[in-house]
Symmetry: C2
Amino acid sequence: MDRRILKSREAIVEAFVALMAEKNFEQITINEISERANVSRGTVYLHYTDKFDLLDQCIKSHLVELIESFLPCGATGIFPSKASLLHTFQYLGQHAFFYAAVLANKGVPMFRYRLQAALLRGLDKQIDMNGINRDMNKEMLIQFLTSAIAGMIEWWITNSMPYTDVEVVEQLWALMERNQMVPQPFDKGMTI
Amino acid sequence: MDRRILKSREAIVEAFVALMAEKNFEQITINEISERANVSRGTVYLHYTDKFDLLDQCIKSHLVELIESFLPCGATGIFPSKASLLHTFQYLGQHAFFYAAVLANKGVPMFRYRLQAALLRGLDKQIDMNGINRDMNKEMLIQFLTSAIAGMIEWWITNSMPYTDVEVVEQLWALMERNQMVPQPFDKGMTI
DNA sequence: GGAAGTTTGTTTACTAATGAACGAATCCAG
DNA sequence: CTGGATTCGTTCATTAGTAAACAAACTTCC
């Protein structure tokens, strides 16, 4: 890909996200975006039809990344696994600026919904309905899981990540075990 | 000016200076520069005939800035003044990365010479030969001043600025007063 | 309500940047 | 010495980005 395209897109998105952290989506103008991005206004229209399209593409690409953070280590393991959960929260921590901006921005409702929808799409493909989940209703299991995780994500990001990614995943995993949503740990007193 | 030109030049110079801080000038290639600058190799040749030209333009523009730092507050005051000296060292502190790179780089001799030559050019125009300097030989005065200042600059930068700009100027100014190179302070016991 | 000023989205002609190709020069290992 | 690999400096056709202009749709404020 022509590096000019990548550089322009990157500059525009970066400026846009920075502005979203400062003010509501509605009161952001294309003028501001192009100025902040140090790019001609025409260039913005060259890549995005309007600021709604820009927002949409931003959210889409980030949610694709989020889904990909589930399964970074090749085909190793099935979700839900503690390792893949940790990857996701590590990714979120690295892109907290964006997620905080869209979650907090009053001009961007629906993001919470799209977040959960993305989790659902990602989870649906790779969840293992054998073993522990054999007798569960998949639809309900996924709904429960994605709600829980989305809620944790929203809380963690909007509260400025008050705990480390490891700590959050530790807690979340414990809750999932308690609710029999994941493979149970071996009982310490158990004999084989 | 077309912002593409500014952006390309900026990226190239930034990459070049960063590389100079890492390795000798001779072993820096145009390939490396264009890669680091995230710019096509042809773009480098579009702005600079070769890496010597790049180095030359870098040094030239920085020395112009250095001279301009002498007289930032309009036509206020004559050099040497404590305020203008401070401006110069403030400027140097802000661009220490570049000056450290060229001063330390074994592939860039002559820089010390050009530094002093720039100081000399800047000083020659605005030094006040009346008053305290009435009976001095201008050529020798300027030679003395520029040597002293250039030496201080080189020491300050290559030693990672071990004192603040204010401290350095304080010391330098005291030395200049002691040598009657600047207007003498009013004697505390003096009556008008 | 209406004048003055923004912002929007589109179009224009122009120019800078791109990547690819090329032969020549230079470097370096075998 | 020799042959493979880099780097050099240049050329080329294509494309992305540019500033400027424009009318239309908005705010804002008197």
